[in-house]
């Protein structure tokens, strides 16, 4: 049937967009641009790589394993799971000045803080100081929600498994032990300490925890984590915060203390040291290892050779590629060069 109604103005718009004629720029990646580009990138990478490599080289690291698997290890006696409140001492020496500020890490291996179930086993509301969730923690915290029908605060696997070895470092000067002051402030993220984790607005803090129990694994309740500093208790205890920021990989280290004060502000002088360890944390059941790491940092953070080497390799590859391209270019003459 003949279509009768015919609008007069249904002619398509003659605009650049509808006619697919928008002005466009067509990038031409010609050898003339690529070769200098590669050279430039290569040189820049090599430069950065050298800087990274040199910096990384200058970072000092001292790693001490204190798991105590080996029989001759001072901590062997403590590795027995039945030993309670076991203390052991690791002796070590430093040949030359360990440039300050020195950072004191503890490390664990084969420890999967990234288990999905483990990771979700916490109650963010509780940790932000919401009292409602003190008496009624979220089910996410399973299997550490209630202990004997009393709510656990802080609940959940992550909090429950908080690292509880403690360390004291002594410099041995002429046979005498001189304690190295360890600074426990500023080891956690500023935002974690100041915003994300909050204690309930109750003074004294312990009253907020009435009717709750401490996590099963803990020896002390949350409000008594740091007897020396009342501001470092509850959910904003720095060690707790560091622990709660879960590690990405099964072999990880976490910041324990900084050595920034007194005689050691410039670093750890050469000499003999003794590390006194309160050995509490069981790792042998899952074939883990425990270690302490002393390290200083630079602008790029801790020691990491990978980045420098990667930059150097890629940089040189770029230069090599540009040379190859130049040869190919000279020999075969890429067609259509503007």
């Amino acid at each position: 049937m003949v279509k009768q109604e015919q609008e007069l103005d249904n002619r398509p718009d003659n605009t650049a967009f509808t006619q697919q004629r928008l002005p466009a720029w067509q990038p031409m990646l010609s050898a003339g641009i690529i070769i200098p580009g590669f050279v430039l990138i290569g040189l820049a990478f090599i430069g950065i790589g050298v800087a990274l490599f040199v910096t990384s080289r200058s970072i000092q690291v001292l790693e001490i394993d204190y798991t105590g698997v080996a029989q001759d290890s001072p901590c062997f006696k403590c590795s027995d799971p039945n030993a309670k409140n076991c203390m052991c001492t690791m002796e070590f020496s430093i040949d030359s000045l360990f440039q300050g500020p020195v950072f004191f890490y503890y490390g664990l291996t084969n420890y999967f803080q990234n288990y999905r179930r483990y990771g979700v086993s916490k109650d963010a509301n509780q940790l932000s100081g919401d009292l409602e969730y003190f008496t009624n923690p979220s089910d996410d915290c399973a299997p550490y929600v209630y202990d004997n029908n009393k709510p656990i605060v802080p609940c959940g696997s992550v909090a429950n498994s908080m690292f509880n070895d403690t360390f004291k470092l002594f410099q041995i000067v002429n046979g005498a032990r001189k304690q190295v002051p360890l600074d426990g402030k500023g080891i956690a993220w500023w935002t974690d300490y100041n915003v994300k984790y909050r204690n309930p607005n109750v003074t004294p803090l312990r009253n907020a925890f009435n009717g709750t129990v401490k996590p099963v694994f803990w020896s002390r309740p949350a409000y008594e984590l740091d007897p020396t500093d009342p501001a470092n208790n509850g959910f904003i205890n720095q060690d707790f915060l560091v622990w709660m920021r879960r590690a990405a990989l099964p072999n990880f280290r976490k910041l324990y203390r900084r050595i920034t004060e007194g005689d050691f502000a410039e670093g750890l002088p050469a000499g003999n040291y003794s590390l006194e360890i309160a050995y509490n944390y069981p790792v042998l059941s899952f074939d883990g290892e425990k270690k302490v790491v002393f390290s200083n940092v630079s602008w790029m953070g801790g020691k990491n050779e990978f980045l420098g080497i990667a930059y150097l390799v890629i940089g040189s590859l770029c230069v090599v590629m540009s040379i190859v391209m130049l040869i190919v270019y000279a020999k075969f003459k890429f067609p259509e060069e503007d």
């Binding site: 420890y111 999967f112 932000s128 979220s138 993220w189 801790g302 930059y311």
Partner: protein, 1083 residues
Amino acid sequence: LILGLLNRLDITQILRVDSRTIYVGHRACPANEAFIPPKFCDNRIVSSKYTVWNFLPKNLFEQFRRIANFYFLIIFLVQVIVDTPTSPVTSGLPLFFVITVTAIKQGYEDWLRHKADNEVNKYPVTVLEDGRRIRKESEKIKVGDVVEVEEDETFPCDLILLQSSRDDDTCFVTTASLDGESNHKTHYTVPDTEKDLESLNVIIMWSQSLGPENLLLKGATLKNTQKICGVAVYTGMETKMALNYQGKSQKRSAVEKSINAFLLVYLCILVSKALVCTTLKYVWQSKPGQDEPWYNEKTQREKDTNLYLKMFTDFLSFMVLFNFIIPVSMYVTVEMQKFLGSFFITWDKDFFDPEIKEGALVNTSDLNEELGQVEYVFTDKTGTLTQNNMEFIECCIDGFQYKYRDASSELDGFCVTDGPVIYLDKWEELFLRALCLCHTVQVKESTEQKVLQPPQEQRGFIASSPDEVALVKGAMRYGFTFLGLESKSMKILNRNNDVEMYELLHVLNFDPVRRRMSVIVRAKSGDTLLFCKGADSSIFPRVRQEEVERIRMHVERNATEGYRTLCVAYKYLNAEEYAQADAGLREARLALQDREEKLMAVYNQVETGMSLIGATAVEDRLQEEAAETMEALQGAGMKVWVLTGDKMETAKSTCYACRLFQRNTELLELTVRTLEDGGRRREERLHELLLEYHKKAVQDAPPVKAGVTRSWSLTNQDYGFIIDGATLSMVLNSSSESNSSRYKNLFLQICQNCTAVLCCRMAPLQKAQIVKMVKNSKGSPITLSIGDGANDVSMILEAHVGIGIKGKEGRQAVRNSDYAIPKLKHLKKLLLAHGHLYYVRIAHLVQYFFYKVGETNAHVTLLQSQRLFGPLYDAAYLTMYNICFTSMPILAYSLLEQHICIEVLLDNATLYREIAKNGMLRWGPFLYWTLLGVFHGLLFFFGVRYLFSNPALQDNGQVFGNWSYGTIVFTVLVFTVTLKLALDTRHWTWINHFVIWGSLAFYVFFSFFWGGIIWPFLRQQRLYFVFANMLSSVSAWLVIILLILLSLLPEILLVVFRKPRGPHARQIAAVTPLSYKHLKERQ
């Protein structure tokens, strides 16, 4: 009045045997007859799929029948029910999005179909009811209604002709829109009908069956008859036209098919991965101390659940964890791309036709990319290739060529282009008189009062062959006007405005064997003349040979130019000769036995010893640029088949004119005529011919070179194949089963080696049969059908892509097509430019998604291998990744990309071949992109992993945790994925710039925003300040830059080394660089 209609004959050789009883005008049946009126369907044509009410359930059902959607639904349900690593939102939101977008799109398309249906269904018609004429909507016609149709109107349903305004109880009808035959057919009223329908009160029972000559089919058009009345016998979906449609099935594009294939592979990988992971998990857990380290004790519920049930839920969790291996967002993007992309076709002003004031129409956007994959083009002839508008071009009289130059000036127009300028001599006048007399044309009675001298050009002629009309009109332009036939005498108005009368003594009818026709007339002067016109091959042997040579040259030249040529000859008959001929003719006509043979013998006897006057050249006006379009299509590697209901001669000359057949093309004919040549049984002959042609075209053809997909090239002998409907049905439905499939194979093989195939005398369903046959042949090539009439509908529906032409033959084709264009010439741009671009766009879109999938997939797998069971990224990132961060650039790319600009695509049809056979979505590219993605994924993961071997990345010695890790990887991912696309983009418009840089900026902004606020509705503030902290670390910056560059540098190298080479490279490269400057100049 009861009509009994028995054994209704169908044109399509499909015998519908049924009988129905109809009460004309719904008059009450006589009381003594216990007759229950049967229920007939109403006259509505329904091509839409949904109604307002069933849209939601039906559409949802259809959508979830798609494997991918169903799969995502399952995943979503698993996520809701089982405790899984990722939240249900990550898959639920995208799924909801997909379903909504698709539903909106399909709803819109169905709305368009509703609109088109309404146009037909609401068309006003006149119905006679109780003696009154009532205007009704077409859909309200019921079986038994008496419908009145006026001239040039289409019949709204199948009617039995009761009354005609013509005196002789006939009416003329053209069925051009049904079967492509454009000539006028005569239909007869049912005999013995009461003339006064309005007061009809007599009940007559017909006992004889009504023939097709009484039946007016819906879709046909009334011609040359003021009005008719008919009773509706078949309505709506029961009409012949509707029955000729085939069920409208969902068309799937090749790209979609290959996507499905790839997804199936992915699905297998997914399942096997989940299986392997579950196994590994339990193997690993069987080691002491690993199953349940003390710090991560199982919950009571976990301890209680059955081991096997746990394994199963673990398996499901792994499935969910890996589920983004199947990219739900790809479906969204593909849907959006198709939906939005199709607007560019609608908007294209090149498709706008000022005559009908309409542009292109897109009925389904699912097939955009299919336009770039077409291998076979099936085209209708009448109205598609040709305008079905014959025009007298030139003639040649006595060896001199005359060309009509200027239509407006009468005398001067007729000028001689070669030879001396001569006055109008005897030969010319004789020639023109011959043209005026030797035909079977009727003069159309003007609807107004009979004006003796109607405006000459407007004078209407009717003939069974449009050629005759063209000739008569041609003669009219030179001053000899045929006025009509009045009581056995033909009236001619000659140059001097005198009316000449010729008594028509005999008409020696045209038949395809003789290929000529003659008339014997007696002039006023008493001379008896025989005028004969016919094909050169049938005239030349019957005239004096010395005349032939002069004219043969012209005829041959005209033929190669694609004109339809006829030769005209005459002879004087003296009284004896006439008497003899007259007696012979009369005797033969009255013969009871072998009348045909006898007539033929007399004809042959009479038509001898004539003298050749001249030749004519008539052009069946091709559609604008038809030849160029066909040439471009063939250049693009498509094979063009012409399927027409028209006569072979006509179709053949059209093929020549369209340059489908070239002068050196060898024609292989398989028609009734060639079958009858041998004088043996048709079947045997068919067998013989098929084998012979097969040998010629297939076996003797030079072997196809490896790598060249098209077997024919310029050096080869070109073959053209011609087959007609009757022979085709012999080939397809051969008597013995074994032969049938063998013939079919032979036939297909021959056709595939021919440059062009012409199938003439096709019934509509046969057209569809052919398309189906080719579609299902080896390699399942992509087919395209283009047509303009209702007779093409079945073929349009059958082909992968159906194109309707908004021609004069109604709207059926347009409504059932996938795309409709106003003119044939638009096909070129539609395929070569739009199709090509859409294909490249969507192919790259799909590849890109496989790349993205490979990337994320690699991460997740690595997480497992590292025995990290947590998710790497935050749920917000996961959800946003495909919806916001990386979707817009690829969508913009897939809408705007022009890797080669449109002009170049149009100029170089061969470029089309480069993407033929789904070239960009085969297993090779699929593997390449997936592996590239996996490679990038590995790179990012391990790069960041080695960085995190010491997680103290800040200069204050603090350590980064798992969310920082994930965020670094994710940042690298988002940037690389976006920049990779930027590298692949060859056509940077401001939109691309905006979207690419915009989404990167959005990512950064979002990350700050998301991490900058404690969100009260979130259970876990996982990303709080993670991003900002990351940016405060130099190492994080350095590793991000390193990884991005490392993954993209090889790409850049590849681009440099993979510069276009080969014969076209230079040409393309020379035109390709589009700059703002170029484009501005061009506008």
